[in-house]
């Protein structure tokens, strides 16, 4: 299998802007699917609303594009009804941990067997650039013109507070690490969550003074470093995996 087999080319071009991070992450998922040869008939991709939410329709597999924030519960229903299906949620930060936060909290607690890939660009991009629950403190957005007054949501804290968990933080720049993490996440039996640090040039970056998408991509290289050692907690600037397979309380 080639990664191109997992892409619905007749839907090209995508809705994404030139320089968008989502396509890079999308490609890595298709590369992994080809690598581990997941049959397209055993795979379902679910996404919610937002730029990342449009991804479901670009996978050459059965896919579901649902309402805002509800990708996880729809995916849970699919998995419970047919446990043989490999279920992958591919959506954005505002969708998954903002409006869909309650589902994220509880699906991770229930350790539902699914992989969630969360494209975290720290902004509501599709609607023009409003503050997300993941927006960095102090950053101006359309709904926080004087700077985001809050700290971003601690996603790893929520996932890793569950007694059994698999969490990775990746970045769009560190592509080999992202690919490796996607492969591990898909192999994990239970709830696996990948937070991919991404960016949005059109509705976020250009207002912050970035001249082009590459500057934003390069900033991920500068800001983040890989921590490949086993750890219980990743520092704010670290990429890596936190996992715990303990059973019982």
């Amino acid at each position: 299998m080639d990664y191109k087999d997992y892409v619905k080319w007749d839907r090209w071009p995508t809705t994404w802007c030139a320089g968008c991070a989502i396509g890079m992450i999308f490609k890595q998922l298709t590369v992994v699917l080809a690598k581990v040869a997941v049959p397209r008939e055993e795979l379902v991709v679910v996404s919610g609303i937002g730029c990342s939410g449009r991804a479901a329709g670009y996978f050459n597999t059965d896919s579901v594009h649902v309402t805002h924030g509800r990708a996880i519960p729809v995916a849970e229903g699919i998995k419970r009804a047919n446990p043989k299906l490999k279920v992958i949620v591919f959506s954005g930060d505002g969708d998954l941990v903002g409006i869909g936060g309650n589902h994220f909290l509880h699906a991770s607690r229930r350790d539902e067997d699914m992989t969630v890939i969360c494209i975290n660009n720290g902004i509501y991009g599709m609607t023009g650039g409003q503050m997300a629950p993941t927006s960095p403190s102090g950053i101006p957005t359309l709904t926080s013109p004087h700077g985001t007054p809050y700290a971003p949501l601690n996603i790893q804290g929520i996932v890793t507070s569950n007694r059994r968990h698999w969490f990775a933080r990746c970045s769009t720049y560190h592509i080999a690490h992202l690919q490796k993490c996607i492969q591990e996440a898909i192999a994990w039996q239970g709830f696996s969550f990948i937070e991919v640090m991404a960016f949005c040039i059109e509705n976020f970056g250009r207002r912050l003074g970035f001249k082009n998408a590459y500057e934003m991509l390069f900033k991920l290289k500068v800001d983040y470093k890989l921590n490949l050692k086993p750890t219980d907690r990743l520092a704010d600037n670290e990429l890596g995996v936190i996992t715990h397979d303990r059973q019982g309380s």
Partner: protein, 338 residues
């Protein structure tokens, strides 16, 4: 075998009889018993006590797409939350049964008292235009029968079918013989996920490809879906009509209200719609044409009366019974006062 069971239990048993294999819900009075009974079957069916009402309806949508006959149940406050998923299921054409055991509202209202106040919510609760099929049984046996029919109608229409119960009926215990109920089951109409290439979306789409700026296509799509809903509904035109040749007045009532006014059949004609929506236009018009006066008796402030008046295009009187307490004497008194 005859058994004494309550309306909510009959709904749960009807769903199992219909072949339901997925159920998700969130506890709420007066619908929780449906959950309790199905939780006991969690080894036979997929059962999820979800984190909220929004999750449970979306889980049911996912399960239905994956090949399971699926149901969720709630009461008015939860029904308000489920509207998002109901709209999605209409847009994606996903079969599903949503049970709403009505209590007095708005908001938390009077949680333990029955009402029939969610009729308009059942048809207009989600945004945009859509034409749902809505059933309202009026006995414990009917709860069983019309739960099965709701699953059938959901499959044939590929839409979320709403089953309304009033809280009275849900908690009413009656002796029933469920084995005597015979309803032919409709098979699944939607190929389950795992075909390898289909795309389901809440966006307007043609063959899985979003068409979000094509008004002409939206009109064609809407006409097709509306026709599908009306044609399917026509095969589920359940009602009961008792014609009294000496009566000048026709009483229209459903659910527990119909049960309460049954003793009036010697003085009035009685029409009991089970398929509340789409409205039984022809049947109501025929019954109405034979009477000088039409009165709708319902446990809300005239929600069905307004709908009936709209199609009959003549004055329809109403006796709204608000607040959950219902008595035949009060109804008789108010009939005399009309």
């Amino acid at each position: 075998m005859k058994r004494l069971i309550m309306g909510n239990e009959a709904v749960a048993l009807g769903a199992l009889k219909a072949g339901m294999t997925f159920f998700a819900a969130y506890p709420i009075t007066p619908a929780s018993e449906i959950m309790h009974i199905l939780a006991e079957r969690e080894k036979e069916i997929a059962f999820v006590h979800a984190e909220d009402e929004i999750a449970s309806v979306h889980m049911a949508i996912g399960a239905s797409l994956a090949g399971a006959k699926a149901m969720t149940s709630t009461s008015g406050p939860g029904m308000s939350l489920k509207q998002e998923g109901i709209g999605l299921a209409h847009m994606m054409e996903v079969p599903l049964v949503v049970v709403d055991v009505q209590r007095v509202g708005p908001s938390t209202g009077m949680p333990t008292l029955p009402s029939q106040g969610d009729l308009i919510q059942a048809i207009h609760g989600s945004h945009g235009d859509y034409n749902p099929i809505v059933f309202h049984p009026s006995s414990v046996t009917e709860c069983y029968t019309y739960t099965i029919e709701a699953f059938n109608a959901a499959e044939e229409s590929r839409s979320p079918v709403i089953l309304l119960l009033d809280g009275f009926l849900a908690h009413l215990s009656e002796t029933v013989d469920l084995e005597a109920v015979s309803v032919e089951l409709k098979p699944r109409t939607l190929a389950p996920l795992g075909q390898g290439t289909r795309h389901f979306t809440g966006l307007l789409a043609k063959d899985g490809v979003p068409q979000t700026k094509d008004s002409l296509y939206y009109r064609q799509w809407y006409a097709r879906v509306k026709t599908k809903m009306l044609e399917t509904a026509a095969r589920y035109g359940f009602y009961d009509y008792h014609h009294n040749p000496s009566a000048e007045t026709l009483l229209i009532a459903f659910g527990i209200t119909h049960r309460v006014i049954l003793p009036l059949k010697n003085a009035y004609s009685l029409f009991k719609p089970v398929r509340l929506f789409p409205l039984l236009e022809k049947e109501l018009a025929e019954a109405a044409a034979r009477h000088a006066t039409i009165v709708v008796i319902e446990m809300n402030d005239g929600q069905y009366r307004g709908e009936v008046q709209k199609i009959l295009k003549r004055d329809v009187l109403g006796i709204p019974i608000l607040g959950g307490t219902i008595s035949l004497m009060e109804i008789q008194e108010r009939l005399r006062g009309l």
